[in-house]
């Protein structure tokens, strides 16, 4: 076991805004003000219509498991106590997909399209990570 902490996301710019919403217990994605397309990761313009205007819209937090990999190596000492662990791609009802972790679930319970819902996990004083559990 290592005492190295897990890496944390940077909290600056648009990515910082994403995580500020998480810290308030809200999963929000950018939604284009021009064509209403939801998007993730945060960007300065809409890939669909080119609009540079957006609002941060709240997601239902419900989604399904799109893909995952179970990693048996830590690759980073901060994850040494977690192996084997799953890193998942979750598809939200609104459309965006997000890389996250599934909590409170056995690895052999994972299957494509497994219904999931958001839970927030405070991992540092000023950082909250969006994670998912089976619903």
């Amino acid at each position: 076991m290592s005492d190295t902490p897990k890496p944390l996301p940077r909290r600056d710019g648009l990515n910082g805004e994403f995580y500020e919403h998480c810290a308030r217990g809200e999963l929000r994605f950018q939604r284009c003000a021009g064509c209403q397309t939801w998007r993730h990761m945060p960007r300065y313009s809409c890939a669909e219509c080119g609009s540079r205007d957006w609002t941060w819209e709240k997601s239902s937090g419900r989604g399904k498991l799109y893909s995952w990999t179970v990693s048996h190596r830590a690759f980073h000492p901060g994850f040494a106590g977690d192996v084997p662990y799953a890193v998942a791609i979750v598809e939200l009802e609104e459309g965006p997909r997000i890389v996250s972790q599934i909590v409170d679930a056995k690895l052999d319970a994972l299957r494509l399209d497994l219904p999931l819902e958001i839970v927030f996990e405070k991992v540092a004083d000023d950082v909250t990570m969006p994670k998912f559990r089976i619903r």
Binding site: P7, V70, H76, R97, V99
Partner: protein, 389 residues
């Protein structure tokens, strides 16, 4: 203007594939370049083009100084990771076909074992993450969730494919077992004296599902280089020229984000491979061999489909029954590939293709006239070249 047969590869050079002690990358690149220049018979002073795959390891102009390239007229850098070496053939063909350069040197080298091992690269704060949108994805959304390295990123694509199509471990194993068999006796192959059995493959530890240890490419130190010129100039040189008959590069959308692709199984190669085949006036069925970028075995399996050798979901059947063996329907990775020869970002795949078409390969495909080489890099960028003698 089509680039069909407007350029040829006339020189190849390499260093041994080793695992330390690391030599300076520039030192290895100079060695490989001098070998390629000598192989071609081009005068060093005549080289006026220099195309790099990645600016990550060394500085382009220092290569020019080390080699005394005093009249460089064209330089460029292709930044699409392991898809870059094959893509450089497109740039080189454009350069020589339009007279922007007459003789182009394409070198690459890295200390993949001594300096850039996965255990070092896995640090999000490391120098290997440039400040671009891809690194933003890694730093802000992947690494905090425990995803640090390509085997994990590519496994998201591979695992969904595997679950949708039911590919078995034994089917995935055909790629590394074939590569290892081809490496036996190849003096340049790092794994030349180490055969691999299905039993050993299945007993190897899982790294990130569906990829086991023997599904991961080697981490080696080494360099390689090519010389490209026009067919007219090639006539005066030492080697039988190998023509770039078709070449294309493609990017999955969005290229900087794996998770939000409308179809995660669409690769960089998916929508562009047909362009290279059409340019060459050939079909996948015409290929006498294929060197498939095999950073991880399932990635190679998916590229066989994306390149058009079989339909999506059918690679699992395509690779069985010795079809990809040296005497099979489509010999694949005849040198051992990144799995068993060495990892020079696939520039060694091109070098092997040239050897096959010259008729000087260690495991020679009989009477081969035309073959394909693919590249794969970053979050799934793709490239493909159709080479013929």
């Amino acid at each position: 203007m089509s680039l069909k047969d407007k350029a040829c590869i006339v020189g190849i050079g390499e260093t041994p594939n080793t695992r330390g002690p690391g030599r300076p990358v520039i030192d290895m690149v100079v060695d490989a370049s001098l070998n390629a220049i000598a192989d071609s018979g081009v005068k060093r002073s005549a080289i006026d083009g220099l195309i790099f795959s990645s600016s990550r390891y060394i500085f382009q102009e220092s290569v020019a100084v080390h080699l005394g390239l005093k009249d460089l007229r064209y330089t460029s850098i292709i930044e699409i990771g392991g898809a870059a070496p094959v893509s450089t053939l497109q740039s080189a063909a454009m350069a020589v076909a339009t007279g922007q350069a007459n003789y182009v040197l394409i070198p690459f080298g890295c200390n993949g074992y001594s300096e850039a091992r996965t255990s070092v690269r896995a640090r999000p704060e490391s120098q290997f993450y440039a400040d671009n949108q891809m690194s933003q994805a890694v730093k802000n959304y992947l690494a905090p969730n425990g995803a640090f390295v390509p085997v994990q990123y590519y496994s998201w694509i591979a695992n969904r494919h595997r679950l949708l199509y039911g590919t078995t471990q034994e089917e995935i194993a055909q790629i590394p077992l074939n590569s290892r068999a081809n490496a036996q006796g190849n003096p340049r192959a790092y794994m030349r004296d180490r055969p691999l059995t299905m039993e050993a493959y299945l007993a190897s530890p899982m790294i990130s599902e569906p990829h086991r240890m023997f599904d991961c490419c080697l981490e080696t130190d080494g360099a390689a280089a090519l010389i490209v010129t026009t067919p007219e100039r090639a006539r005066d040189l030492k080697q039988r020229p190998v023509f770039v008959s078709g070449v294309a590069e493609g990017h999955p959308y969005p290229a900087d984000d794996i998770m939000n692709r409308s179809d995660i199984l669409d690769l960089g190669l998916t929508h562009i491979a047909h362009r290279a085949f059409e340019m060459a006036g050939a079909t996948p069925a015409d290929m006498d061999f294929a060197q498939i970028y095999d950073c991880f075995t399932y990635v190679a399996l998916m590229q066989l489909e994306a390149a058009g050798f079989c339909k999506r979901g059918e690679a699992r059947h395509f690779v069985m029954n010795g079809n990809i063996a040296i005497d099979g329907k489509l010999p694949v990775n005849t040198h051992g590939g990144l799995h068993s020869e060495g990892h020079v970002w696939g520039l060694n795949h091109i070098v092997e293709a040239v050897r096959q078409l010259r008729g000087t390969a260690h495991r020679q495909v009989k009477d081969c006239e035309i073959g394909a080489v693919t590249g794969w890099g970053d979050f799934g960028d793709g490239s493909i070249a159709i080479l013929r003698r």
